[in-house]
Homo-oligomer: 422 residues x 3
């Protein structure tokens, strides 16, 4: 090659042919499986003209594309720019974080379209996809990005691809149990995405524990510009989180409500993060790691309940608590996890996704259990929790119980899966 340029992604120990082979073979497998199974859903198919007449729709604007596409693009930015750049703060892994994130996410969304498709969009032998499937695939990969945050710097690209393959599979199974068997609500994924992703990653990193990693700790130090890049990641996650939590909610008021609740929770979270970061540091300075991470905990923690009638002040309370929990986690819990439990949590995902995810699941269970027809309106109540068909007689308190069960299932799946993969 004529143009000499410095070649990134240094010193990985995989052999010359393994990464190319895995990428090519897996992609061929994707093509074959897509060829056999995946087709356009009715709203993306050219037969939509006839479909519209059947469904009595008078306008093209009724196509789900217009309800969800803007949110989809925001979620897409969160997964590829948000998570990618958030991890750039580690100067040693800067470009690797972005590049590897790009690689496994691109594979993961394809595999997720298949796995989630088989469970949720399978009709007469075909997976019928639309914009909602794209969002769900991005969500699923988001959970892998979270787990990646715990093991960053410990794995080769191939190990990451293998982990992605298994984690996406388990994610889809867990999601199926929660959404279909337990009939649980989790539009923003406090349980399915954050709790599952975080504890999966933590289990894996526990198994990959390397004592001598401590010696290279100074390589974890960040530099000025890296912090600005990381801040780009943080801000895009923070700004677009309302889209994340509202992207697959029911059309209309539910999407609207989810965005407002998330906006409120995130705003409150910034203030308590800054307060505790300043309070717990020497000389009252602010720690950038807290600002880059704990400010986002409010979004995680309303993931389950954002589309419910959590109300703006309820969201503020959740954000208030999570900013504190997450910052305290960075200061006190993380050193403890590393020294006592040998869990090296590179990016601190336990503080950003683990605990806030659990809180989110619990808040969701409480909010669901506290629902009344008075607050939701008769029709709104049924629509919000989808109490139709088999679930016609389910009461809010029972729903709350099932929501709580969803947390437990997600945790179990994460520990078991993480142990297997690790």
């Amino acid at each position: 090659m004529e143009r000499p340029r410095h070649q990134g992604m240094v010193k990985n120990t995989y052999m010359r042919w393994r990464l190319p082979l895995v990428c090519l073979l897996w992609e061929v497998a994707m093509i074959v499986l897509f060829g056999v199974f995946v087709r356009f859903g009715p709203e993306a198919d050219a037969h939509w003209e006839e479909e519209k007449q059947e469904m009595n729709l008078t306008s093209d604007i009724e196509n789900d594309f217009y309800f969800r596409y803007p949110s989809f693009q925001d979620v897409h930015v969160m997964i590829f720019v948000g998570f990618g750049f958030l991890m750039v703060f580690l100067k040693r892994y800067g470009f690797g974080a972005v590049g590897f994130n790009f690689l496994f996410a691109a594979f993961g969304i394809q595999w997720a379209l298949l796995m989630q498709g088989w469970f949720h969009s399978f009709k007469s032998g075909k997976i019928l996809i639309g914009v909602e499937n794209l969002i769900n695939a991005d969500f699923c990969v988001g959970s892998v990005c979270i787990a990646f945050g715990a093991i960053l710097g410990k794995t080769s690209p191939i190990q990451l691809l293998v982990m992605t393959l298994f984690q996406v599979t388990l994610f889809a199974v867990n999601e199926y149990i929660l959404l279909n068997l337990l009939h649980v609500k989790d539009a923003g994924g406090s349980m399915t995405i954050h709790t599952f992703g975080a504890y999966f990653g933590l289990t894996v990193t526990r198994i990959l524990y390397r004592p001598n990693l401590e010696q290279s700790k100074d390589k974890q130090g960040s530099v000025y510009h890296s912090d600005l890049f990381a801040m780009i990641g943080t801000l895009y996650l923070w700004m677009y989180w309302p889209s994340f939590n509202s992207a697959i909610s029911e059309h209309g008021d539910a999407q609207h409500r989810a965005a407002i609740n998330t906006y409120c929770s995130l705003a409150a979270c910034v203030l308590t993060t800054m307060a505790f970061s300043s309070m717990l540091q020497k000389k009252g300075k602010l720690d950038m790691v807290h600002i880059q991470n704990a400010t986002l905990a409010g979004g995680v923690a309303v993931g389950t309940s954002a589309e419910m009638m959590l109300t703006p002040y309820g969201s503020l309370i959740v954000g208030f608590i999570c900013g504190i929990v997450s910052t305290v986690g960075y200061v006190y819990l993380m050193p403890f996890l590393e020294s006592r439990l040998h869990i090296q949590d590179t990016c601190g995902i336990h503080n950003l996704h683990g605990m806030p995810g659990l809180i989110g699941g619990i808040v969701g269970a409480i909010t669901a259990a506290a629902a009344t027809e008075d607050v939701y309106g008769k029709e709104g109540f049924i629509k919000a929790f989808d109490f139709t068909g088999t679930y016609q007689t389910r009461t809010p308190s029972v729903q709350g119980g099932f929501q709580a069960a969803g947390i437990v299932v997600s945790l179990l799946m994460a520990f078991t899966g993480g142990a297997l993969v690790g």
Copy 2:
């Protein structure tokens, strides 16, 4: 804490406990006030199902969420990434600019939801919020970001929070006077956001004048990468400005028109900025400060008139003039302001928001005064200026007079408010 990382936001003079206390107490106050006052508006409430039937809406797509949410997200990016990163060009305040912007903006949007809510969305004892309130809260905080640009480097985080508290309050009062009492149009906020924010900030910085700040002038120097970060800020402001000016316009043609006018004005502004920047510098080189700032003046200056029938060529003319005015301001007026009037305008907000904001107010007044039923159509005329109810008999020329009065009121509020806060 195990992980040693360099701690940002250096050398602030606040004591260890003051920032935490202010953040926590104020956030608790927000929770209490939200608990007492803030509820979901009809389109975000679970009763929307019944609301829809009452309002005879046939589809969920009629929810205001779908008209405004994409614009909201663009505005959100402008406030948190745009304004934050624009100020990174000062290498001394890089991370501080982004971090403090994040802190006061997160507080400001909560307080703005309350203040603007009491004035505009108060029904039977409750503030009913929806996506339009979120946009307005972001707008209000945008005005604080502008003022922040003048005092950057002179204040502690606590002083910023106090300034935010007061400025948001005064913003809401000023907005109420303009929109409700004077019945003035200002969808993109040339008067309410830019003129008010800029002259408020300039008054504050005049009062905080520190002669010895000049000695540290070399710290204001920028570096290569800082300029690229600042350019990210500039470009996001430039690209999303059409969303800013159209975000809260009337549904339909007004939003459409506002986006087109802003697009045209900004395009013209880039060319005249480059022309004058090159012309006024030694050896014809371009000054990056001009490119980063003056190119945006065209968006500011159509803030009031963008939703009116300004027409594309009218927008080009406004952009043409503002690129010149703003660049000339950076070269000649700013040194004069500092040496003679003792106004240290760190980011040059007078050139980007002050003068273009005034021009925007004047252009709005002229465009309103020149409106005819012929140009707008009979129904369009009434809809565009909301000439209904008490205002049924108002003529365009009277409207123009009130628009002009709006400029004066905004200026007075800014000077008085800035003096009080300073």
Copy 3:
């Protein structure tokens, strides 16, 4: 000027007055031409209220603004941030790439509104513009950005402006021939934007060949942070490409389908790029230039066919092939082009836009030729290819032939135009 700051865009050889004069005079010309020709289209005009009644529309949401504005903003980001930052990887031209991109793009969109307007939106003496015109203007400028990638570092700003003037003109002529005379489909612009832009730029750079440019080759070297900035450009192009290819498709299923096809093609492209980049390099390392560029080839190559029934697995196949072709192009073809044909392709646009654009044209021709009423449905078939009026009797295979003719015309226009301008 009081504030000393380092002044960017170094050492251009234009004289002090030429750039200002060109910018000012051309902008005045734009104002005059806009004044004579450009008016708001019916959906952006205040007469829309009456228009709605005539068209029997019941809701403002039927305004084209709501169908296309979110996609427009994504495309806008691609043109100004995506293309601008992608070229930052060359450390020597970092700020210049972003700044000059900003200048000629701002001029280009105005001239494109006029040129494309005369050809496509001219009614009774006026060009009537709406959001679709803004998107098309951005597309047209995208083609200039592509050509800019080939000549980066060889031209002065004035030469760039002159090139923009001519290229936009020729783009509009070529587009008119393809879309109106040949009645060809090309919503994502594989032919009109990528093939035309790339071969235009390559012809220009061939003519501007400077043998001694080789000596300054080390200035092309990139640095760590520049690579992260370039990655921002890459990711925004990659993430928003579904919006690019769907932005001006027919309302409803076509937009939906175009987004899904592009999403799939891009995902597959990342895996084969990584595979071949690793395979073709010494020691199996990944080359960042490939990751920054070749991963995007999948989006280029479904530009023509994305809105057709390409199907998800068809898209994966296209992305699979293009990742390989593009990466191999960087490794083997580019050195050959430079040493034998004296084509110095600074950013490698032949690999990213040239070859993938041609593939895109061919895939489009094949997909069109293979269309059947069975796959599209009776109404969908007519709607997809606009087989109405004069074209009522055109068959898929004839359409395929015309699509192929479109590729040839685009190539001829590019070579002829590039030679003239060069």
